[in-house]
């Protein structure tokens, strides 16, 4: 009788077309997933996976990470912007015909991929964009976007760092919102995923 190791069944098989969001800060995987429009797509969330990734000689996130496998999905610039805010050290892999064709990661990691031999596809920098769209909700209840609906747009006034909060300004009511008050269109607040530590210089 052939013995089968049950762990083989539980491993996630590589996807052929789609997106893998790797190295997400633990606790942010499902938050990010909620923001994505994954209806009808096969999605496999991985929470609290082990990782040996180090930053400045320390294990990243105490050796844990979340990882999302989305088959056939695509990310908008708004989605990528949200990932950069919630989990700035994540690595977004676009996969086509079972190969990674595009990697989007923080500047430091991009430098690693650019000099390494293992990866030869496209590279993009994961950074907080200068503007965001419908992914955010205006926190001002009197804003026309909350009263009469319609598209939203936000200017990123201050990009977050280790010591400074993210500040966004609504393009309609011109009110500015800091850190914890910032809300996503799902109703989730930035504070729901705890304080993000920004290692980025």
């Amino acid at each position: 009788m052939v013995k089968t190791d049950i762990r083989n069944y539980l491993r996630i098989r590589p996807i052929e077309e789609g997106i893998v969001i790797d190295h997400l800060r633990p606790g942010t995987g499902l938050f990010i997933l909620n923001l994505l429009n994954y209806e009808g797509l096969r999605v496999t969330p991985g929470l609290n996976y082990d990782t040996s990734k180090e930053i400045d000689g320390e294990l990243l996130y105490d050796g844990k990470k979340d990882i999302m496998f989305i088959e056939g999905g695509e990310l908008t610039s708004d989605h990528i912007g949200a990932i950069s805010i919630v989990s700035p050290l994540a690595v977004i892999n676009h996969i086509k015909e079972s190969k990674v064709i595009n990697k989007i990661a923080s500047k430091d990691r991009i430098a690693e991929y650019a000099t390494g031999e293992e990866y030869s596809g496209k590279l993009g920098v994961l950074e907080v964009p200068n503007s965001l769209g419908n992914i955010l909700l205006c926190a001002n209840p009197k804003c026309t976007t909350n009263k009469e609906g319609g598209d939203r747009c936000f200017e990123v006034i201050q990009k977050p760092t280790e010591s400074l909060d993210l500040v966004v300004g609504c393009g309609y009511c011109e009110k500015e919102f800091y850190g914890d008050v910032i809300r996503f269109y799902t109703g989730q607040r930035l504070s729901d995923v705890g304080k993000t530590r920004y290692y980025l210089k």
């Binding site: 804003c143 026309t144 976007t145 009469e148 319609g150 011109e174 800091y178």
Partner: protein
């Protein structure tokens, strides 16, 4: 080859332009509006009554207004422009739940040449401006979008008020630069004070004081803009202490109806942050000017009326200046300049 000056370029850029937020304007553009207003103030009424003859101004006012509505309609009248529209939302389809953008989509088809809108939702006039062209993209586009002028959108912007404030400062002091400003009373809720404080960042004031109760302080985002600028500023709690230095005292009505304060605290704020005529007489420069966006609170009438006869009182002239600034804007957005 004819050389086009930068002033001509700015004048050309005004034609058909929306006036939504003071943040959309550069210093040179604001200066041009003030220059045009000054010229219009000097032109006799009989000579300017044909300037915009044949044009039609649409008015959509969903909130009460005295000065803004009447000065806009008088500006239109005095330039020979006809006007009509919605003066009360109860008499329009807004009472049936029609959105502002649908109202604007309708009115742009009725051959208005400009629309003035006041609405109670923050940001609503910018949204409305996105619908100021022909309402169906599949039909032939009939021409340029019609300019929309913001007459106040909720607690957000009131750009024409800021322009008339700047005009009043320039008229009374000759410049916006090298002056000491004192913003006084409710610095938290007043949209006019926020817009003017932001507009002054384009100039070089000597110093700016923000004087209010600790509960009604200038919002953090404006303070952070001052911190990033080269302008010297200070938050103080008593206007009397800094009054001798001040050139422009900009007072506001405490909008205590927006705050959840106890009656006792409301009374204390009303009493403490009250401009008193004897203090002005004792401590202020003769050349200092008191400005106020009006209306002033009924319960503040007495002490303020005391101030009305002081040489420093300038708030009624400030309100009158709204006519010339609005005349200038109507001319500029229709491509008329002097």
């Amino acid at each position: 080859m004819v050389k086009i000056t930068s002033k001509e370029k700015i004048i050309t850029s005004f034609k058909g332009r929306h006036v939504i937020s003071i943040r959309d304007f550069k210093k040179e553009e604001l200066d041009l509006i003030l220059d045009q207003a000054e010229i219009l103030e000097k032109i006799p009424r009989a000579e300017k009554c044909k300037i915009l003859d044949g044009y039609h101004l649409g008015i959509i006012f969903y909130e009460p207004s005295t000065r803004t509505k009447i000065s806009f309609t008088r500006a239109a009248d005095t330039l020979g422009m006809k006007w009509e529209g919605i003066a009360d939302p109860k008499t329009s389809s807004a009472s049936k739940g029609e959105t502002l953008r649908d109202t604007v989509r309708n009115l742009v088809g009725y051959e208005f040449d400009a629309l003035v809108i006041r609405h109670n939702d923050d940001g609503s006039v910018r949204r409305a401006s996105e619908y100021s062209h022909y309402p169906n993209k599949h039909l032939e586009f009939p021409g340029e979008p019609i300019p929309i002028l913001n007459g106040g959108d909720g607690s957000n912007q009131h750009p024409t008020q800021t322009m008339l404030d700047l005009y009043t400062i320039k008229e009374s002091q000759g410049t916006m630069d090298s002056l000491t400003y004192l913003f006084h009373n409710d610095l938290k809720n007043g949209r006019t004070i926020h817009s003017l404080a932001e507009a002054l960042l384009l100039y070089q004031p000597k110093k700016v004081y923000f004087c209010s109760s600790s509960r009604l302080k200038m919002p953090r985002h404006i303070i952070s803009k001052y911190k990033k600028s080269d302008i010297e500023f200070e938050e103080v709690s008593r206007y009397e202490d800094v009054l001798p230095e001040v050139d422009i005292l900009y007072d506001t009505r405490p909008q205590l109806e927006r705050e959840n304060f106890t009656d006792d605290l409301k009374e204390r704020i009303k009493s403490m942050y009250r401009i008193r005529a004897h203090t002005i007489k004792e401590k202020a420069k003769e050349s200092m000017k008191i400005m106020h966006p009006l209306p002033r609170n009924q319960n503040l009438m007495s002490p303020e009326e005391e101030c009305d006869d002081l040489p420093q009182a300038y708030y009624f002239k400030q309100a009158h200046n709204g006519l010339f600034v609005r005349q200038a804007l109507l001319c500029l957005v229709k491509g008329v300049s002097f």
